[in-house]
Symmetry: C2
Subunit: 252 residues, 2 copies
């Protein structure tokens, strides 16, 4: 991915600054909203307290997410403005590795932003991108917030929703779909409502889910099911909160 700003590789805040510049580029491209910039700042603060690394419980969640996506009949990866700005190639790659569809789904939906994000994903190698039809609805949300593609997220059994609003994450979980969330705040309603909450920076989480999926690609179904069954979401959320509060790695 090209970056418009030179950040020296040895700068102590290299990854954090690069991430911030990707989000700002997203504004120029019309894919990141003002709310997206504020959300990026919240994420920066939680990641700073987390030590800007993937803690062991997050790695386990990422492995469980990979197994769950491989087990799915119809997995869909939801993409909003910040997700597209931060990890466009990485989302396309994960979709390929687990056989998932990509769907643009926005909290502040405008047709222009949906089209700009779909185009940006195409530029990064995506085939079909859903989210433009928006002919389905998630129950329990106001009209604009509820829109999904009926043959995309509407028909999915497993959905990855990174950096999602709490109301929408709760409403989606209430449909009975298996929800995987990526969110740096373990106390957020998004993380709390997910079957598999991944408390990690999306720029680390998505490539790591892909790595696990590659390793598990030929694993038998019962091994994948065991990985999902063994994942303890309550323990993972508690470990993440401990890591943020204490600065440690969250292990007891």
């Amino acid at each position: 991915m090209s970056d418009h700003v030179d950040v020296p590789e040895d700068h102590p805040r290299h990854d954090s600054l690069l991430t911030r510049h990707r989000i700002e580029d997203g504004v120029d491209r019309g894919i990141t909203s003002r709310q997206g910039l504020i959300a990026q700042g919240r994420g920066e603060a939680y990641d700073y307290l987390l030590g800007e690394r993937t803690i062991p419980s997050a790695d386990e969640a990422e492995r469980a997410a990979a197994a769950q996506l491989l087990l799915a009949d119809h997995p869909v990866l939801s993409v909003n403005g910040n997700v597209a700005a931060l990890v466009p190639e990485e989302m396309v790659e994960l979709a390929e590795v687990v056989g998932a569809e990509l769907e643009v789904n926005l909290f502040n939906r405008t047709e222009e932003r949906v089209a700009a994000i779909a185009e940006y994903l195409h530029e990064h190698g995506a085939g079909e991108v859903k989210g433009l039809r928006a002919d389905g609805r998630i129950p329990g949300l106001s009209h604009e917030r509820a829109k999904v593609d009926s043959d995309g997220i509407g028909d999915a059994d497993v959905v990855l929703v990174p950096l999602e609003d709490g109301d929408r994450a709760e409403a989606l979980a209430a449909t009975g779909k298996v929800e995987i969330v990526i969110d740096l705040n373990p106390l957020s309603r998004s993380a709390q409502s997910a079957a598999i909450p991944v408390v990690d920076n999306i720029v680390r989480a998505v490539p790591n889910i892909t790595r696990h999926a590659r390793e598990l690609a030929d694993a038998p179904r019962d091994e994948l099911e065991a990985i999902v069954a063994d994942f303890d979401r309550e323990a993972a959320l508690a470990a993440a909160e401990r890591a943020i509060r204490t600065g440690g790695d969250g292990e007891e």
Copy 2:
């Protein structure tokens, strides 16, 4: 202050949402930058962990800040885009109560933003606003980052710098001026370099400094000096970090 968005008074996140909308209005007015939106998000996360309240050590810091401003020969309050967007009236009021000057001082300086912020302060009752001449320099910073008014911050003995970048806060402290910082991250270089670090949300901190200054307006000089001397910055920073990490009020 008028707000363009109706947030019900009884909404549990009322203050936080109102603050966010003020920042977004700031973008429309050309006074808040993209970096300002991201910084707002970081602040939201720290304030959330802090319980969105003024902890006892912050109240003590705010009282010491009031005393220090009243003791100053030439106090200056620095105003950037987020400060102007969030607390324009409150900064004008504090300047009046402690007899300080207001100076617009920006990390990402453009003449347009300086003028827009000065105009916004005038709309909220400010008399003279400094920062447009920019004929002085803070040593140790690159050219654009270093600009101040020579008869404003350049000549001040006490400077209040809310929501300031770490490099700039360190460089300003190195000039020997007494620096009061408002910053929600007690680990930030801005907070760490301040003589009086106020770890609190600016929308609570500025009115509370003003309230203390009103109470102390007729206090004898030695009482003010004792308040400043008794303030323990290391203890205040440690209490704020404990409050963020543990969710308590930071008192031992």
